[in-house]
Symmetry: C3
Subunit: 271 residues, 3 copies
């Protein structure tokens, strides 16, 4: 099943409007190319919606925000919604500043997301934001341990109707009903900047190429990224560090076959 997501992405060659921060933009563009898709990147409000219309899917990454960029994210998201394009949200550091908290709330309130991908802290902050907005006790936000992450992810999925991915030691993928726990990945991926942004970009390609099965697309993206982290780690020479590792992960996405993903994906679900 997951293999089909990969092959569909190579077949459709999804063009993704990838609005991402300048720190990881190059890696995000290369990972989109690695999975068979390609990227356009435009972050000005005056053209964001028009560029969105020319693509098949949209990724909204909240890193390195500023008022113009946030306005562009909003306009692009609403344009994608009108056109029925899948939209992925990566709420980078959403709990770190008032500007980002407001942006997270506004985007959640104004754009319908196919998928949301963040680390446990970011997912908890988004739930907290929506929760506070609805007068629910902030204490419920939780999100420290794996249980908290799962609870926050499920809750955000239900409230937003999006597939939610909460990455951590165990990655959670849920549509609010089914919960997958993914065990792929390697701890050294934490030493690669923007590994999360890259996963969000990959997720954007997979969900754009597989619009009728976003839960499976998200599960495939999470397993694929983690598996590529394992494959890349096995390649490391004693002198290689996080910079070569970064390249090897994207290389592994480029080389990933449906069969490799089917064999290597490690996940479980209650159902």
């Amino acid at each position: 099943m997951l293999g089909e997501i990969v092959s569909q992405s190579r077949k459709c060659r999804p063009l993704v409007h990838c609005m991402t921060n300048y720190v990881t933009a190059n890696d995000c563009a290369n990972i989109l190319l690695a999975c068979g898709g390609s990227a356009i990147m435009a972050d000005d409000p005056d053209e964001a919606a028009e560029i969105t219309a020319a693509c098949g899917g949209l990724v909204l990454n909240m890193g390195t925000p500023n008022p113009r960029r946030l306005e562009a994210l909003l306009r692009a998201g609403q344009a994608a919604n009108r056109l029925g394009h899948p939209v992925v949200l990566d709420p980078v550091g959403v709990g770190s500043s008032a500007m980002r908290r407001e942006a997270g709330k506004r985007l959640l309130a104004s754009v319908r997301f196919a998928a949301i991908r963040g680390n446990a802290t970011e997912i908890a902050a988004l739930v907290h934001g929506t929760a506070a907005h609805r007068g629910v006790d902030a204490d419920e936000a939780g999100g420290d341990g794996a249980d908290g992450a799962e609870e926050s992810a499920v809750r955000l999925a239900r409230e937003s109707s999006a597939i939610v991915v909460a990455t951590g030691n165990t990655d959670i993928v849920t549509d609010g009903k089914t919960v997958y726990r993914v065990h792929n990945g390697h701890s050294m991926m934490q030493a690669v900047t923007g590994a999360g942004c890259q996963l969000s970009a990959l997720l954007g390609a997979y969900v754009t190429a597989n619009p009728d099965r976003p839960l499976q697309a998200a599960l495939a993206a999470v397993c694929a990224m983690g598996l590529c982290g394992e494959i890349a780690h096995a390649r490391l020479s004693p002198q290689d560090g996080n910079a070569s590792y970064r390249n090897y992960i994207i290389d592994a996405v480029f080389r990933l076959t449906p069969e490799t993903l089917e064999r290597g994906a490690r996940y479980e679900t209650d159902r």
Copy 2:
């Protein structure tokens, strides 16, 4: 002949004001260093002209545009014209939005370019823009196949008095009279983000170091980039993908000798 362009670039060490998008800025800076030059990057209108004055050449890349950045491109281009510095235009996605179409028109109308480098679609869009401006039927823009690309490139070269490079399966290099068709390159280069931006940066260095022979400088840059794509491809291990390939291409530019380019350049011309 092409070898001299390479050696001249290593000898002059051209300092290029490279105004490029944030997605490919790092790669552009490294490819400028690889060919013996170096980059300064500044994109604010308040300092763009001043930084331009301190350099020998200028590259105007229209990627990730916004109004301030476009204003900076314009001011830098005009400053370079006043100083007699060669200016290269890379009209990234010029047909993709009204903002970019306007910017392309405005830059063409206000700045004299030594060279313009785009893919066939971008070159056709630029011709279309200038054509429409002059009341010429838009249908003439064409530019789908190789023939269309060549026609558009020649026409843009004549209208702008710039050397025009239209990249594709076969790359076109023309001054509006002579047309070179370059057969270097590898299809996997399409899986490297910003390969076109990098070529424009390289072209900026070569034309800055060889101001009296821009057609040859452009031909050398196109052959060199393609040849380095071939050399880099030959290095790939079975586990390497587009990320390692990206590095190997820049590495090959770093190692490129005049002799290697003379031997490896594959191009033809009617004359």
Copy 3:
């Protein structure tokens, strides 16, 4: 002694607000991860101070400036001062434009720096700026040769009360009293874009993890970066160029042990 700086950085895992230009942002983030720290990057005035407060240290890099970004640098610097966080200044191209000269003066006048890192020209331009401000003859700025660099560095250290690092063939590290001359490094590092920015980021991590000994932290960062340039150079294959070299340098920082630095650091001092 220098080894302890390295091990302290791996133990404390310093979180650094790294405000750097978009050309080198990715490499700066990866080098911070390589040394055991991590980066947050935010450059809008509306959130810069808030993000700063969540970190342990701050790096202010003046590359690719614009008025909003410069305002953000200022606010972040002042917030870090209020909180007692160490602040590192990298005055990229400070002498290249009026905007940068003004920014350099304003930052020096408004923010207390733990360390300032630039090349000899940048350090001389900063001294010249402050000197002119105080009516001192500009001729004293000097800074062409190694002697001039040392003189400028000592003077800037005394005037700013910061540790000053002036990089060049010989790197100078001084607190205005003790002067270290570092002989690590390889000339090919000049072919890697942002090697200086990366050193400033590394310095930010080391000084954040070792706030009570900034001179030693700066010396360790300069020796470490140079030594990693040597280690990376020894790894180069005949086909590798500056792109692979860039990765290998960060890899070497990732693999750097306290023992390797103790053995490999090459510096001298008059005291």
